[in-house]
Structure formats: C-alpha cells, structure tokens
C-alpha cells in the first residue's frame, strides 16, 4: 500500500528482486492508467474540435438555409435556420449557455487548448515513469545475472 512518492526516495539498487518486481508491476499499472487517460482525453479533444469546426460553417449568410434535422439516427425532417448568431453550448453538469458564434468558437478553442495541456502533462509524467520503469528492468536483469554467476561460482 506504499505510495510511489515514498518508494521513489529509496535507493532502488538496494531493493531485492521480489521488491523490484512488485515496483515494476506497480509502474506498469500506472502507465496503463496514463494510456487510458490519454485515450479518453483524445476522444474529448476530437469532440471539442469537431464542434468548433461546425461553428466555422455557420455565418451570417447561413440564415434561412434549409437543413435536415435528425429526429432519430435514421429519420430526418427539413427545417430552416432562423437564428444564426447564437448557439447553445453544453458547459457541463447539466448547464447550457447561450453564446454568439464568436463566443462559441472561443469556447471550443479554449477547451481544445485545455485538453491539450492535460494530455501534455500526462505525457510528461508518462515519460518519467517509463524511464524509471526501464531503469528497474535493467537493474532486475543485472541482479539476475549476478545471482546466476554466484550460483555458478558456488557449484564449480
């Protein structure tokens, strides 16, 4: 149940093989959590940038244009755009805010930036952990070699 912040301060070369193996496994688990998080963030990123792109297509000249409104995923009814200046955006936890098109674009731009920052942060942490993971793997190999040699020396 030890947290990594305390284990990282221990000199890893002094740890025994089973301890190293445990640490390695823990790191692998953390790395996979990072991977999952990045995946989820990328999905969110796509959604935001897609919505932003949709707004690019709405301008003053779209007023009165006919569109097909989906009632279900396979049934559409024709409609026409009456208000092309305002959009209603889901800002989370069930709240929706009305914004003008420019404000909407700005919103999605900010969100994309925010998500990108998060991805970057996780990436940095991931690189750090991978390095640590590599070091442990190498150390483990070294210890195994040492043990093998010691055994050989003892038997001969």
């Amino acid at each position: 149940m030890a947290s990594t912040s305390t284990t990282q301060q221990i000199d890893i070369s002094k740890l025994s093989l089973p301890q190293l193996a445990q640490l390695k496994q823990q790191l692998e688990q953390e790395l996979s959590v990072f991977q999952d998080s990045i995946q989820t963030l990328k999905i969110a990123l796509n959604k935001f940038s897609e919505s932003g792109e949709c707004l690019e297509k709405i301008g003053p000249d779209s007023e009165g244009k006919t569109i097909l409104v989906p009632l279900t995923s396979s049934m559409y009814v024709p409609g026409s755009l009456t208000d092309v200046n305002n959009v209603i955006i889901d800002i989370g936890t069930g709240y929706y805010a009305q914004k003008d098109v420019e404000g909407g674009k700005d919103y999605f731009k900010r969100k994309v930036q925010f998500v990108n920052e998060q991805i970057e942060k996780i990436n940095m942490l991931g690189v750090e952990k991978s390095k640590f993971h590599e070091a442990i793997t190498m150390l483990m190999e070294m210890k195994v070699q040492q043990q093998l040699q010691a055994q050989k020396a003892a038997s001969s």
Partner: protein, 123 residues
C-alpha cells in the same frame, strides 16, 4: 499458546484485514468520483463567470432545457462545489482512519506470525 490457536487467530486477523482493505478501495474510488465531479464543477463555474451579464443560461432537467437566472446558476454551482469539497474531506478522513486501522491489524498479524515462528523453532 498452542500453534493451532495462533493459526486460527492469524486467519481471523487476515479476514478482518482483507475487509478493511476492500473498504479502503471502495473509499478511494468514491474519492476519485468526487474529485472528477469537483473538476467538472470548477470548469462550469469558470465558464459561468466568463459569461456576459445578459447571457441566457439553461439547466437540463430531464429532457428539457429550463431557463435559469445567471446569478442563481452561479450560486448553485458554488454551493455544489462547497458540498463536494466537504464530501471529499470526509472521504479522506475516512480513508486515513481505515489506513490506520489496517496498519494496526498488520502489526498485530506480524506479531502473531513471529510468535508462531518462535513456537515452531522450539518444537
């Protein structure tokens, strides 16, 4: 103490410890959920403060969007954040209490293990 008695005790301790560990796990997931809720609320709060005074805000209730006063929405979100923060604090306290309990149990267990080892050495 007889060997069998110690072994029985160890088994019992182990069971209690596993129960506590499970509880810790549960509390941890709960805390994670609360954390993500708090984060979402933070984002919403920020968005609401960025809105112009006359912007319209809607709240999704079931399948309908109901218009809501901007000021009221801000207050609602602030209140909710306060509540979630309190819940997080409570869960954290709960976790640390459980962890203390686990540590004590582990110590007890180790002691029993030692006793058993000594008994076996003597035998």
């Amino acid at each position: 103490m007889a060997e069998a008695e110690i072994q029985k005790k160890m088994q019992k301790e182990m069971e209690v410890m596993n129960g506590v560990r499970k509880e810790i796990q549960k509390a941890m997931t709960q805390k994670q959920q609360l954390d993500s809720q708090l984060n979402e609320n933070k984002a919403v709060k920020e968005e609401l403060t960025l809105l112009k005074k006359d912007s319209e805000v809607f709240k999704l209730i079931g399948p309908v969007l109901v218009k809501q006063d901007l000021e009221e929405a801000r207050q609602n979100v602030a209140k909710r954040m306060e509540y979630i923060s309190k819940e997080i604090k409570r869960t954290e306290d709960h976790i640390s209490a459980l962890e203390n309990k686990e540590e004590a149990l582990q110590e007890n267990f180790n002691k029993l293990k030692n006793d058993l080892g000594k008994l076996k050495l003597k035998a």
